[in-house]
């Protein structure tokens, strides 16, 4: 199976039904993507497939054959959103943070607070740090 992973061509040899989440973490050694609930509720495993946020725990590997996949590692560590989350307290325990940031990457420029809330409605923060997360995104986007 071939895909473009974080801008680079990649080949993986996996069962077609293996979860994208497990392909990323086990086969590609990209452990920035987290597993929270395993049922599409929490958004911790959010990555972009062809630019659109998806829950990687619900995507079979075969569905990204030929696709562009972007994970938190693909942002490079110095992305505006990543810096803003650090500077404005957007990360508390951190488990939801990669998913929050990947959902935020897909927002349009200068989103309204309402657009941020809708765009992140599929991401849960158990520390309930939503205000700081929204503030971080508003500063960065």
């Amino acid at each position: 199976m071939r895909l473009t992973l974080n801008g680079k061509r990649a080949r993986v040899d996996v069962h077609p039904l293996k979860r994208l989440l497990d392909v990323l973490r086990e086969d590609c050694r990209l452990t920035g993507t987290k597993e929270g609930c395993g049922e599409g509720e929490c958004g911790a495993c959010t990555v972009l497939v062809d630019g659109a946020p998806v829950n990687s725990c619900l995507v079979p590997a075969v569905h990204v054959d030929g696709a562009r996949v972007t994970t938190i590692e693909g942002l490079g560590g110095r992305h505006r959103l990543q810096r803003a989350f650090v500077e404005h307290g957007g990360a508390q325990c951190g488990i939801c943070t990669p998913g929050m940031i990947m959902a935020a990457v897909a927002l349009r420029r200068k989103p309204s607070l309402e657009e941020i809330k809708v765009g992140l409605s599929g991401n849960l923060c158990r520390c309930t740090g939503y205000s700081a997360i929204y503030r971080s995104i508003r500063k960065a986007r």
Partner: protein, 288 residues
């Protein structure tokens, strides 16, 4: 209530492996719709697999019994949304995001846009499909009351041809449909609707919640109503529609509606709450 998401609640076998294993499962990969229909005929039984937003929840929790799957995701012919002869045609693989963004759906069936917006969050909307929502056959499916109230037609295809089934005859019982094992849901046809369209979903929170009650209505000279999560299948409230057509008061219509519902207590809500909310929603719709 079980403590969800704790390891001891997950189905783990004696070797410590999750029973949601994929090792013994196989996936057939058709290159075209006709290829897929032949596989269903010759190599079945197969479980069609589209956006996986329901199927993978069962897989991850070890409750998925099926072992042979048919990958529909690449069949772009089933993804189109268009209008022909004044009929809106929605391909089964149209995602909820596709429905929200479609000009045709926005113009002709805004209550379907409203329903799609309330399904899951953006991540689920980007993968979940309308065909999957219907095929999954949950009585809580959010697009189902819309299709019921719009008198949609389900287009079923098999290698032998196609047939059209009124959506309101598609379900025969709890999670039971008239779809045969060799058939695929190809899409839905929705004739032009007159009158005001209305959709409401009541859940624990706005996003990522399964409905306690979901309702769609159309109000023109007459009123049409359909509800989900209040019976073993989505239902059209035909008796309530009939009493309203005869000029019943809101209170009488509510009483008739309550007689038509058969909700249950489950982990999301109680039968009593669902009845109360359904009656309140009806009053809100009629008064608006």
């Amino acid at each position: 209530m079980p403590l969800h998401r704790l390891l001891r609640d997950l189905p783990i076998d004696s070797k410590g492996a999750m029973t949601g294993s994929i090792a013994n499962r196989i996936l057939l990969q058709p290159r075209s719709l006709s290829d897929a229909l032949k596989m269903l005929r010759d190599e079945g039984p197969l479980t069609p697999l589209a956006g996986c937003t329901d199927l993978y929840v069962s897989l991850n929790f070890g409750t998925l019994k099926e072992t042979r799957f048919l990958n529909l995701w690449g069949l772009d012919a089933l993804r189109t949304i268009d209008v022909g002869r004044d009929v809106l045609r929605v391909g089964a693989l149209a995602t909820h995001t596709d429905l929200i963004r479609s000009k045709h759906v926005q113009q002709r069936l805004p209550m379907l846009v409203a329903a799609a917006r309330e399904i899951g969050g953006v991540q689920i909307q980007n993968r979940g499909t309308i065909g999957g929502n219907v095929a999954n056959a949950s009585p809580a499916g959010d697009t189902l009351p819309v299709l019921a109230v719009a008198d949609a037609v389900v287009v079923l295809q098999s290698a032998g041809g196609s047939r059209r089934v009124p959506f309101n005859e598609f379900y025969t019982g709890y999670r039971q449909t008239v779809r045969r094992g060799d058939e695929l849901i190809a899409g839905f046809e929705i004739a032009s609707l007159r009158g005001r369209q209305w959709f409401r979903k009541v859940g624990t929170r706005a996003a990522q919640a399964i409905s306690k009650v979901v309702i769609a209505g159309v109000k023109d000279d007459e009123v049409r109503l359909a509800l989900g999560s209040v019976a073993p299948t989505v239902i059209r409230a035909r008796r309530t529609e009939a009493v309203l057509a005869r000029g019943a008061s809101i209170e009488d219509a509510q009483q008739t509606l309550l007689d038509e519902l058969s909700p249950i207590d489950d982990l999301r809500s109680t039968a009593a709450y669902r009845r109360r909310v359904a009656a309140n929603l009806l009053a809100g719709f009629l008064a608006s």
